[in-house]
């Protein structure tokens, strides 16, 4: 039985892909635990398996073997609809390429998870406003993504990830498409959210300096294996 402080427990998780005759081990027997309120950086070079591991912990993908337990549920055994509900209610996601829907305004993008969660229409407006204010985009709510800078788009994506008040925030290379100033601003924002809301954040990055500056803990992956796992400070 994992201790109460433990939120995610990956047990010997593997993910294989088949390309014709070849079998690619994207993630190979990784075991990892994440505690509540932790800011974990999954560090590694391109193809190290960090994004695949993040996808499995976020419920977007399933491990070929092993188990990922989140709040006493093994994600590998959940039905597709249960996994969708996990993503909707427990998880928030931020991507490298922002992934805001271009035809929607910023507030409509942020409202999308609330529509999926069938939140009352009246409550939505206040929650959207609250999320946008938190990331400093209250004045840009009617703008479309194309009218926003990269940093603003990523902050908008962060507001969308936060609007359903998730327990865990997954960020896949959130600074990958940003300049260093905007990248630092985003990570500062993540750090503030972690501290103020007590949220658990798991971030994939290949930028060691940023990981060392903002994360509590760094797990290093190489060729699908966890090669080091250490607390920063």
């Amino acid at each position: 039985m994992p201790p109460d402080s433990m939120l995610i427990c990956a047990e010997s998780v593997s993910r294989e892909y088949r390309l014709g005759e070849a079998v690619i081990h994207a993630v190979n027997a990784v075991s990892l635990t994440v505690e509540k309120g932790e800011f974990l950086a999954l560090l590694g070079s391109s193809g190290s398996g960090k994004s695949t591991l993040l996808s499995m912990m976020a419920g977007l993908d399933r491990p070929t073997s092993g188990a990922i337990r989140v709040q006493e549920r093994n994600l590998a055994e959940l039905e597709a609809d249960e996994l969708a509900r996990y993503r909707r209610d427990t998880v928030g996601m931020v991507f490298q390429s922002f992934n805001l829907l271009p035809r929607m305004t910023l507030e409509e993008n942020v409202e999308l998870p609330l529509r999926l969660a069938e939140v009352d229409r009246h409550d939505r407006q206040s929650r959207v406003g609250e999320a946008l204010e938190r990331v400093g985009l209250g004045a840009r709510r009617r703008h479309r993504p194309s009218e926003l800078s990269g940093g603003e788009q990523q902050r908008g994506a962060l507001a969308r990830a936060l609007v359903n008040r998730p327990a865990i925030l997954f960020a896949d290379e959130p600074t990958g498409n940003l300049d260093s100033v905007n990248g630092e601003q985003i990570l500062l924002l993540l750090r503030n959210i972690q501290v103020s809301l007590g949220m658990t954040i798991i971030m994939v990055t290949h930028e060691r300096p940023l990981a060392e500056k903002f994360a509590n803990r760094i797990a290093l992956l190489s060729d699908g294996r966890l090669v080091s796992d250490g607390v920063q400070r």
């Binding site: 969708a84 209610d89 992934n99 829907l101 035809r103 529509r115 999926l116 969660a117 069938e118 359903n164």
Partner: protein
């Protein structure tokens, strides 16, 4: 996701690729329009035929004869002991009794006789027919020169054009002129003792009474000249050349071929009819009224079977028109499939984002399904409007053609509310079926693969 949110997102998505989605919706609309236009043509022609036949008076009429004298064209009815016993003479009492039956609107005799017509020094023999006032609305007199009788008892006549040509080189000029009928009037023989004795001795019987035939003349104003022979057929008005109001014809007491029968049966004071026409509210009432009349001891005949066959023909006609119309809609449904499959390819990443945000397979599938339904809904409405326009254009073109042929215009296309509603529902149904495959395909997309898609 709630239905309202689903609909909003579906409409929003459709607005994004407005040209492609509009063209697909237009494809559905054209399919629905062809279906509606074809079926409206079928419905219109059926309505037109039904109206014409109903107005002709052939299908809402029962022709009644006495079982004693004339059985009409129908095969002899079962002549059991009771019907033989109850068979009755078709006299004024019987006419009154028939007019009191439920759903009966009118009972009138067929008064037809040969007479001599005098006009401008000419004398011609021809047949005369009494017309009930209800024949005014039969459609047979639409477009004739002049007008229908001013009243049911007017001393007026309508001439059939062939006969009018005999009387004048310019038939239309006869309207407003007077002609004289010379006919044989039937009257009861006066009760003179000497006459009775004479008749008794002639007939060799002790039965009193008799009829006399007296030549009479009647002047009538010509009010119309009709090109066609108004509604021929059993009990119809065909065959005659001069038409009078029925009541006017009755008041003439013209000797009829069957006047001899009551005279021979010793009941010469009560005139009888050879046949009566019983008009009912609707063709639906014909079987019930026919049965009631037979119960009274008379023979009946109606053309109801012909209407049944007509309905069968139109049902098959509608079926074929509907099939051809549906073909166009089937082609349109392929357009929907194509549009939505293209949309899946274009919106693959969006599907991945939706799934990452917590959308279930069902949410994603429903969204594509709703988009197909919205296209069907708009296509259905647009198609009904387009179909109605096509039908109206057909009616307009036909009317112009008929007017050029000096014929009255007709409405050949008709879109009843049930056709419009069914077409819209059918369009939505076809669109939803077409959207099924793309919806399932979108729902099954792996979110990781979809998010990777550029």
């Amino acid at each position: 996701m709630k239905t309202r949110d689903l609909s909003e997102l579906a409409v929003r998505n459709l607005r994004e690729a407005v040209l492609r989605n509009s063209l697909t919706t237009l494809g559905v609309a054209v399919g629905v329009a062809s279906l509606v236009a074809m079926l409206s043509l079928g419905v219109g022609l059926q309505t037109l035929a039904s109206q014409r036949l109903t107005r002709s008076g052939l299908f809402d009429a029962v022709f009644v004869t006495s079982q004693r004298n004339f059985r009409g064209p129908r095969p002899p009815q079962p002549s059991d002991a009771s019907t033989k016993k109850d068979s009755r003479i078709l006299d004024e009492d019987a006419r009154q009794q028939l007019s009191k039956l439920s759903n009966v609107t009118e009972v009138y005799p067929q008064i037809r006789f040969i007479t001599e017509v005098r006009y401008a020094g000419k004398s011609e023999s021809t047949s005369v027919l009494g017309l009930p006032d209800s024949s005014r609305s039969s459609g047979s007199f639409d477009g004739m020169t002049g007008s229908f009788f001013s009243s049911p008892t007017a001393d007026e006549a309508i001439l059939q054009i062939e006969f009018a040509k005999v009387l004048s080189d310019q038939p239309a000029s006869l309207v407003g002129k007077d002609l004289t009928l010379r006919y044989a009037e039937r009257a009861a023989l006066s009760k003179d003792a000497d006459d009775d004795a004479l008749l008794d001795s002639m007939m060799g019987s002790g039965k009193p009474g008799g009829i006399s035939i007296v030549p009479r003349e009647k002047t009538l104003r010509i009010v119309g000249v009709i090109d066609s022979d108004p509604s021929a057929g059993i009990g119809g008005f065909g065959g005659a050349r001069v038409y009078l109001p029925l009541k006017t014809a009755e008041q003439l007491h013209v000797a009829q071929p069957d006047d001899l029968q009551p005279f021979l049966s010793g009941n010469s004071t009560k005139p009888s009819y050879m046949a009566l026409t019983v008009r009912v509210h609707s063709p639906r009432n014909v079987p019930q009224v026919e049965a009631a009349i037979r119960q009274l001891g008379f023979a009946t005949f109606s053309l109801l079977d012909a209407t049944k066959n007509l309905r069968l023909v139109f049902t098959v006609f509608d079926l074929f028109l509907g099939l051809f119309g549906s073909l166009a809609l089937s082609v349109a449904s392929l357009g929907i499939i194509n549009t939505l499959v293209m949309a899946i390819l274009e919106r693959r990443r969006e599907i991945g984002i939706l799934k990452a945000l917590g959308a279930t397979d069902r949410d994603v599938g429903s969204l594509f399904f709703a988009e197909a339904g919205v296209m069907g809904l708009f296509g259905g409405f647009l198609g009904v409007a387009l179909g109605w326009l096509i039908g109206s254009a057909l009616t307009w073109g036909t009317t112009i053609y008929l007017h050029r042929q000096n014929l009255p215009g007709v409405k050949i296309s008709y879109v009843p509310w049930w056709l419009a509603l069914s077409a819209i529902l059918f369009a939505i149904l076809v669109s939803l079926v077409a959207g099924l495959y793309p919806a399932v395909r979108a729902a099954r997309l792996n979110p990781v693969d979809a998010l990777r898609y550029e």
